[in-house]
Symmetry: D2
Amino acid sequence: MGLGNMGFAMATNLARKGFRLTVHDLSPATVSRFLAQAPHARAGSLTEIATSPIVLTMLPGPAAVQHVYAELSRLGGIRRGALVVDSSTVDPMTARQVADKARSQQADAVDAPVSGGVGGAEQGTLTFMVGGPATAVERARPLLEAMGKKILHCGGPGTGQATKIANNLVLAVSMVGVSEAMNLGIKFGIDPKVLAGAINSSSGRCWSSDTYNPVPGVMENVPASRGYSGGFGSSLMKKDLWLALQAAQETKAPLPLASAAHQLYALMTSDPSAPEKDFSSVFEFLQGHK
Amino acid sequence: MGLGNMGFAMATNLARKGFRLTVHDLSPATVSRFLAQAPHARAGSLTEIATSPIVLTMLPGPAAVQHVYAELSRLGGIRRGALVVDSSTVDPMTARQVADKARSQQADAVDAPVSGGVGGAEQGTLTFMVGGPATAVERARPLLEAMGKKILHCGGPGTGQATKIANNLVLAVSMVGVSEAMNLGIKFGIDPKVLAGAINSSSGRCWSSDTYNPVPGVMENVPASRGYSGGFGSSLMKKDLWLALQAAQETKAPLPLASAAHQLYALMTSDPSAPEKDFSSVFEFLQGHK
Amino acid sequence: MGLGNMGFAMATNLARKGFRLTVHDLSPATVSRFLAQAPHARAGSLTEIATSPIVLTMLPGPAAVQHVYAELSRLGGIRRGALVVDSSTVDPMTARQVADKARSQQADAVDAPVSGGVGGAEQGTLTFMVGGPATAVERARPLLEAMGKKILHCGGPGTGQATKIANNLVLAVSMVGVSEAMNLGIKFGIDPKVLAGAINSSSGRCWSSDTYNPVPGVMENVPASRGYSGGFGSSLMKKDLWLALQAAQETKAPLPLASAAHQLYALMTSDPSAPEKDFSSVFEFLQGHK
Amino acid sequence: MGLGNMGFAMATNLARKGFRLTVHDLSPATVSRFLAQAPHARAGSLTEIATSPIVLTMLPGPAAVQHVYAELSRLGGIRRGALVVDSSTVDPMTARQVADKARSQQADAVDAPVSGGVGGAEQGTLTFMVGGPATAVERARPLLEAMGKKILHCGGPGTGQATKIANNLVLAVSMVGVSEAMNLGIKFGIDPKVLAGAINSSSGRCWSSDTYNPVPGVMENVPASRGYSGGFGSSLMKKDLWLALQAAQETKAPLPLASAAHQLYALMTSDPSAPEKDFSSVFEFLQGHK
C-alpha cells in the first residue's frame, strides 16, 4: 500500500509477475489509475490490508509509517503469522517499532528501503537494503526479487534503514565535495571534463563524480545536463540527512560533515518560492550565479 | 633536487632508466645514500642546478619552492631554454610564479604534482597531474614517464596543482563522510564488512570506501588494518586542505565541507604529543576511543 | 511535580512562600527528602495531580513531558479550568501539544522554561520565559514570582520554549567563539586576562566572555576556574542545541553555526568514559591537552 | 601614510591636534583633498617618509604592508631610532616582520590596529589594540591618544593584531549566532523586539544583539534598519576571518566555528554582481528572501 511514484511502479512489477494484490492509497484517483493497468488487482480498505498474509508499505516518512501501523493495530492488528515489509525510508528507531509490533503478532517483519529511484522501480532493478531475522528475509526474498535486482541482508531489525541512511550520507557529502572541487578547479581555468577525468582516475573517484557529475555538460543523461530537473530533489536529500542526524543523536555518533551538508541543503531550500532542483544543484549554489 | 621519501624514489627510477643526474638536498647524508646506489649520478651545488638543461624539484611545500626558485634566480637564473619541472605539491599561485620566472628565461615550465604515494614513487607507477603549455608538457613527458604510469595534461600553468588540490579535497571529504557513515551504522549493529559492501554497490561508492576503507578489519593492506600506520598522515591531509582553502580564498570559491574537514583534522592533530596517524584515522577520532 | 535539582529548589521556594503543595516524583526517596523540609506539603499520586487546580511540571525533556501529560489525560484529564505551567525545557512543538490538551479542558496553560541554573532556583532569582495567552500568563504570575525575579512574556503557546532555545543557541555559539579566540590569542603570547579585557571592551563583548569566561584563571567563581566542575554540562548544551535543530527542521530555518557547535559538543561527549564537564570546557577541548 | 576612509580621518585628527604631517597615498587626488583641509601638512615621497622620525601606516592588508615596508627598506630603510606605528589590520606574522625590520634599524615599532570604524576615526574615539615593547608603546601613546580614546597594550610584537583578530572572530561568530536565533524565534511567531530583549537580559547577551542587532526594526541607527548599508561590509568580515584562519594555521589552533562563519560569508559574497552589504546582513541571507 502507498502508490506514490515509487510504490506505483513497484506494485506494477508485482502485478506483472503474477502476485495478487489488494492496494490502498489515500488518493482514490491513483488507485483507479493503478487498477486500470493491473486488471487482477483489487482495491482494499485498511481493515482488509490488516488481514492480508503479506503487508507491503511504501510511505513518505516516519510520521506516515507510525500512523499507518498504529491504525492497523487499532483495527485488530496485523494477521498472526503474516509477513510485513516496509520499504519506506525512515529512521531505524521507527523500523524497530514496526518490527516489535509485528513480533507481538508472531508476524515476520523486515525493513527494506530501496535505492535506484523511480527509474529503478519501473525497470525492476532496485537495490533493497534489508533488516530483519534471516527467516523473515528469506520469506520476503521472492517478493523483493520481483521488484529489484539486488537484495542486501544487512542485519537485524532497523539495519536496512541504517544502511540506507549511511549510504545516502556518504552520497550527500561526496556530492558536495565534488561540487566544491569542480567549482574551485574551473575557477583556475581547468576544463570540467578534464578535471572530472582526473578525479575519476585518482583517489577522489566516487559515484557523485563518475556517474552523476554535478557540472552541466560533463556527462549526458544526468540532472546537471538538463537544468537539474528530475533526479533526487534537494529537499529529499535534506530529509535523508535529517534522518541520519536523528539516528546519530540517538546513538551519540558525531556527524560533522553530514551536519554541514544538511545545513547547506537547508540554505539551498530556504527560499520557498524557488523551484525544487536535483541535489546535485549544490554545484550551482556554490557557483553563486543566482 | 629534493631527496625526501618521494624525491629519493623518483630520482632512483630516473637513474635506473639512464638519466644522468646532478642531485642536491639539504642533507649531505641523504645525498651520499643516494649516490651509493646510483653510481652514474653526481652531487651538485645550487649553482650547478641552475645551469642544468633540465631542473626537477620535489620539495615539501610553497615556502620551500619559493625559496629555492628565488635562490636559483639570485644565482643567475635558470639556464635559457631549460625545462623546469616542479613536482612538489603547492598552491596554483606559487606554480604560476615559478612558470613566470621560467618564461622570463625562455625556459619551459610545468607544474607536475603526483598522486600515488611513496609506493607509487618506488614502483614508478605515479600519476602526474601536469599544468603548462602543450610544448612544455611534451618535452617533459619522457622524464615523467620514467617515474610514473599516467600523465594527465590538465591545462595551463598551475592547473596541475589545482587538479591535485581538487582531487585531494574530494578524497578528504569522502573519507570523513565514509567514517561518519561507518561509525553510525556500526552503532546500529551492522557488520562493518556488510555495510561497506552495501555502500560500495550503491551511490555512496568511493575510493575511500572501496579501496582505503577506514574501519579496521574491513580490508587488508590498508592503514586502518595496521593501526593507521603508514599511508598519508593526518597533518599532510590538513596541509592539502589548507592549500585548497588558500586557492579558494584567491578565487572566491566557497568550500563549506572542505573547510569543516580541515577543522576536523586541526582538532585531530591539536595534541602535539600524539603520534602521527594516517588520515583515515578520522574514523577512530569520531568513535571517541581516545 | 518533578523534584530533580531544579524542581526541588523551585518547590522549596513555593513551600516557603506559603503555597500548599502536592508533590510527585519517580523517586520516593526524593519525595521523602522534600517532605522532611516542607512540613505543609504532601505527596500525591498522578491522579491527585490531575485533579489539582494548578499543575506545575519540571521534567527532563520532551519525552518525559509527553509521557506525563499523556498519563494525566488517561487518568481523566486535567481538571476543567485548571492552570498548567510546564517549566521543563522542551521543543516548541511539544509545548503547543500540552497547550492544546489543556485548552480541550478549558484549562489555562503556559510554557515557562527558566534560565539561571540551580543557583538561581535556590535563591529564587530565576528568569522565566513564558509563552501563552495573556490571561494565562497573568494567572501564573504570582506562582512564577515566588520562584523567580524576571518574568518575560514572549508571546503565544510555545514561544517561551522558542525564546529559551534561541537564547541558548546564542550562548553556545558565543561560548565556542570566545574559546576559539582565547585559544588563538594565547598561542600568540597574549595574557588571557588582557585578551578577555580587550574583547570585553570591544565588539566581541558577550556573556560568555565577561561573565563566564572559559579560560582557567581569567575569572573567579566560574566553572573554568574549578576544573570545569559544576555549571551547565556539555551534554545538556548538546541537548539544547538539538532542540534548536529540531525546531529549525520544523520551520526551515538554517542553523549553520548552531549545527557546527552541536557537532563539537557531540565530539566532546563521544567518549562515554570521560567525566561530564561544564560546557565552557570546549576551550580545553580546542587546546588539545587531553 | 595611507589616506583611505580610515587613514584620512585619523590623519585629520592628528593635524588638528598640531602634529606636523608628511602624507603619502597612491592617489594624488586624495592627497590634494587632504592638504586642502590640513594647511600645515605637506605631501611627501616614500623616500621622505622613510627618513621621518615617526612613520605611521594605515593600509588595506598584509600584501600592502609587506610591499610598503619592503619599499622603505629598499630606499635605505627607516631612519635609525625612528618610531614605526602600523595601524593596518594584518596577520600577526606580518606585524612581527615589520617589527623585525624596525629593530634592525634600532627603531621602535608597534602594531596598533583599531576598532571603532570610520565613525570612531572621525570622532577620535577609536580603540587601539597595541603590540610591542612597553617603551615603544609609551612613545606611541601621545600619537594614539590624538586619534583614539582607549589604548590597550596587549603584549609583545604582533599581539595588537592577534587581539584584533580574536575580537573580530568573536564578533562574527556571535553575529551569525544571533542571526540564526532571531530567524528561528521569528518563525515561531515571537516579536523580534521581545526576543532581542529576552536574549539581552539573559546569557545570550552580546554586542551583536544589544548594540548592533541584525534584524530590521529592532534597533534604530544600525545597518539592519537602513537596508544593511554603511557599517562593516561582509567581504571585510570575510577578510578578517581569513586573517584568523591564517593565524590559526600557523599556531595549530582549531577554529571550527570561525571557519564555518568564514564559509558563510564566502557564500554570501559569491555572487559578484550583488551589492556589498553590512556583515549583519547574514540575517537576511539565512531568511532566504533573495
